[in-house]
Every structure is written in C-alpha cells, then in structure tokens.
Amino acid sequence: MRIAWVLVTVIVAVVLQVTLARFTVGGRWVFDLVLVGVVYAALLWGPVAGMLAGTIGGLLQDWLATTLGGGLAKTLVGFAAGVVGTQFVLVRPRARMIVVAGATVVHRLLIVGLLAIIDSSQQPTWHWSGVPWAAILAETVINSVAGLIAFQASEALPGAVARGRMSRRSSLSRRNW
C-alpha cells in the first residue's frame, strides 16, 4: 500500500514538473518538483520510501530528459531526508520546508559533482567557482515554497474533508428532525 502511495506521489510530481516547466522554458524560474515529491515521501513514510521515490523519480527524469545522475542523487537525498525525518520530530510544515531546502542544495551539488566526474576527461579541474550558485539559490527558494504548499495541503486536506463530512451530516440530521 505504501509503495502504491510512493508511486502515486512520484508520478504526480513528474506530471506537475513537465506541465509547469512548459511555461518556464529557458526562464530563470528553475524548480524540481520531483525532488520535492521525493522529500515528501521520505518525511512521510521513512528512508525506504524516500529511496524508492528517489530511484523511480530520478530514473524517470533521466530517461525522459536524457540526463545523467539524477537517479543516484535523488536516491541518496531521499534516503538522507528519510533518516532526518526519523531522527528529528518534523511535524510542522516550516520544519519540513527547511529539509526540502537542504535537500535541494545537496541534490544539486551531487549532480554537479557527478557530472564533473563523468566529464573529467574534458574538464580535468573542478572548482567551487564553477558551481551555479545563483541557479541553486533560485531553485532552493522555489522548491521550498512548493514543499511548504505540499505539506500545508497534506496537513489541511484530511481536516477539511472531515469538516465537510461533519457539516453534511449535521445538516442532514437537522433536515430529518
């Protein structure tokens, strides 16, 4: 059952990513909603779910966009986020947002490092100055906001549904009376 939810989370994240990326092609608004989905799964269902979400989401991204390293980076980040989620009490959406922000920075640095290793024949020296810090900062901000919205929504949705049911029930009982 948990695997099914992880799958649903990842697929929804990928669909949202490609749908929204269509309107920001070549723009400065860089975001990775798949990563947000991976961290969401990791914080909600633990490190194993985070790993699985990272593997599925990362590989889907790699295969669809013909990129490299996304699967490995997301698996590691999903695992790490899951471990953080089990070690610390992260109930409030703002605390979880900080995990999303940290995960974005680590994920991007992992990708940059991995690509530097793969392209080492072309770029023999790798330096911190080569890291696109401005793009990482923009991505971190957008991912964090997306994560905050996702966690707020997941927290508010069950309550809203229950309140809706309660109000329907009470109006029905009034009518019967």
Binding site: V14, V18, V25, V30, D32, W63, G71, L72, T75
Partner: protein, 278 residues
C-alpha cells in the same frame, strides 16, 4: 539509525545506478530502448496534463481576461493589412526570381513541407532545455528534423519520437549547435547554446570578418539539419579574440514563450529536399 536491511537496499540501489550511468556513458547513444518506452508511455500523460492546463488557461484568457480585447483586435487588423501588403510584395519578388531562375536554368528552390505542432510539456529535469511536442513518428516526424517558429529557429528533434509526441532540443540548450552565416558579411560559423543568459555563441568566425552589432544571423544549411536561410538571431556583441572572433547572438525566438512550432519535414542530411533540379 536505519537498520541493516535498509542500508543493504541503499547499497544495492546505488550500485544499480552506477551500473546504469556507466552503461549510458559507454554507449554514447544512451539506452534508446528504455528511453523510448519511458517517453512513449509518458507522452500520453503529458498530452493529458497539457489539455488540462490549456483548458484552465483558456477559461482565463477567453472569459476573464478580455479587457482591452477590442483595442488589441483593432491593432491586429491593421497588422494583418500591413502583412498582406508585404506578402504581395514578397510574392512579386519571388515570381520575378522564379522567372530569372527559369531563364538562367538554375536550380529551383522549393520550400520544405512543414507540420504545425503544439508544445505540450517542458523538460522533466531542471536545466535541461528541451520541450515535448504533440507530433510524432505517425505524423512523419523523425530524429534530427529541424523545428522552427514564426520568429526563427527553435531547435531539432532528438531521440526516437513516440507515435504522437517528440522531444525537441532547443537551440539555447547545452549541446545544441547549428551552422550559420552572418547576413551582411557572409562569414560562416557554428552557433552553440549553453550559456546561462540564453545568448548563443558563434564559433569559428574569422577575426578579419567585419561583424557588426545588430547583424542578422541565418542558418547556412551546411549542417544537414537546418535548412538554409532561417533566422537564428541578431548579433549582440562582437569582439576580436585570440584565434577567432567572439560573437554573441540574441536568439530571435523567445524561448520562454513557445507554444506553437513548425517541424520541417525534410529528411535530415539530404540537401535534395530543399533544392530540386529543373
């Protein structure tokens, strides 16, 4: 801390990823079968999500954001009138050049057939500048076909297209390139993307070439992908370099707002598709 089973699973997954990465790096062409299957399966979901987002946008643009539509309509009518006039002039020029071609028994130029396509999705991975269009192999789209828009060159089809979708690498992307010629000077070069500011760089332009800012950059057709004569952009910066001139080009296409494109249905690498013998 996670238990041994979890750590073992992590190690297995990481090992699997390393194997997949090394397989892709060594094969150079990637893993076409897996990528093709994944792209084909996901293309339908992308089409569905595009329809939903277009529907929402349609409600907004057609019903809620109609302020100023009458003024815009008037301006567009005037623009159509001007364009009709320009078209007639162009047709007159084309007819006279056709007559000249026939008189001089030159090769006759024919326009390559094009297919209109809608952009249905952006790139799944941030930083990768590709888009997905709603036309695929069933519509005659093939790998390496050129993709253009009203303003100029957009990019080329990459990977094997799905039956009803294809992936387009944008000209401003990291590994994109096209053979170009500078309109005024006639100097040739290779335009490459990959810059963070979305400007294109023209490589291999001689230091002797008198390249001026604002000069039009057109495809030369020598790469076997892009037909010659399509607008790529305008020179924004031109400086003398050590070996070659440093030329930066502002693309004519606004890559942040691409909705409709045209796929040039000429088979890549065949110059015969653009020229026909008399």
């Amino acid at each position: 801390m996670p238990n041994r089973r979890t750590l073992f699973l992590l190690a297995v997954l990481c090992f699997g990823h390393v194997l997949l990465i090394s397989a892709r790096v060594q094969s150079k062409s990637g893993m076409p079968v897996i990528e093709e299957v994944a792209f084909g399966a996901f293309a339908k979901a992308q089409g569905g999500s595009a329809a939903v987002s277009d529907g929402i946008r349609g409600i907004w643009t057609h019903y809620l954001a109609l302020r100023g539509a009458a003024t815009e309509n008037e301006a567009l009518r005037r623009q159509v009138l001007e364009l009709q006039g320009q078209l007639q002039q162009e047709q007159a020029v084309a007819n006279s050049s056709k007559a000249l071609e026939e008189a001089l028994k030159l090769q006759r130029s024919v326009a390559a057939p094009t297919l209109a396509a809608r952009v249905i999705a952006g790139s799944p991975a941030p930083g990768s500048l590709t888009v997905t269009i709603d036309r695929g192999s069933d519509d005659g789209v093939q790998t390496d076909m050129a993709v253009i828009a009203g303003q100029g060159v957009v990019g080329r089809v990459i990977n094997q297209p799905a039956p009803h979708a294809a992936q387009v690498q944008l000209l401003v992307g990291r590994n994109a390139a096209a053979a170009v010629t500078l309109e005024r000077t006639g100097a040739g070069g290779l335009v490459v993307g990959g810059a963070s500011d979305l400007l294109l760089t023209v490589d291999y332009v001689s230091n002797q070439a008198d390249v001026q800012v604002g000069e039009r950059v057109l495809t030369s057709g020598q790469d076997g992908i892009f037909p010659g004569g399509f607008l790529v952009g305008y020179v924004e910066r031109s400086e003398k370099g050590t070996n070659y001139r440093l030329v930066k080009v502002r693309p004519s296409v606004d890559f942040t707002h691409i909705e409709l494109v045209l796929v040039v249905l000429a088979k890549p690498g065949t110059d015969a598709s653009h020229k026909e013998q008399p």
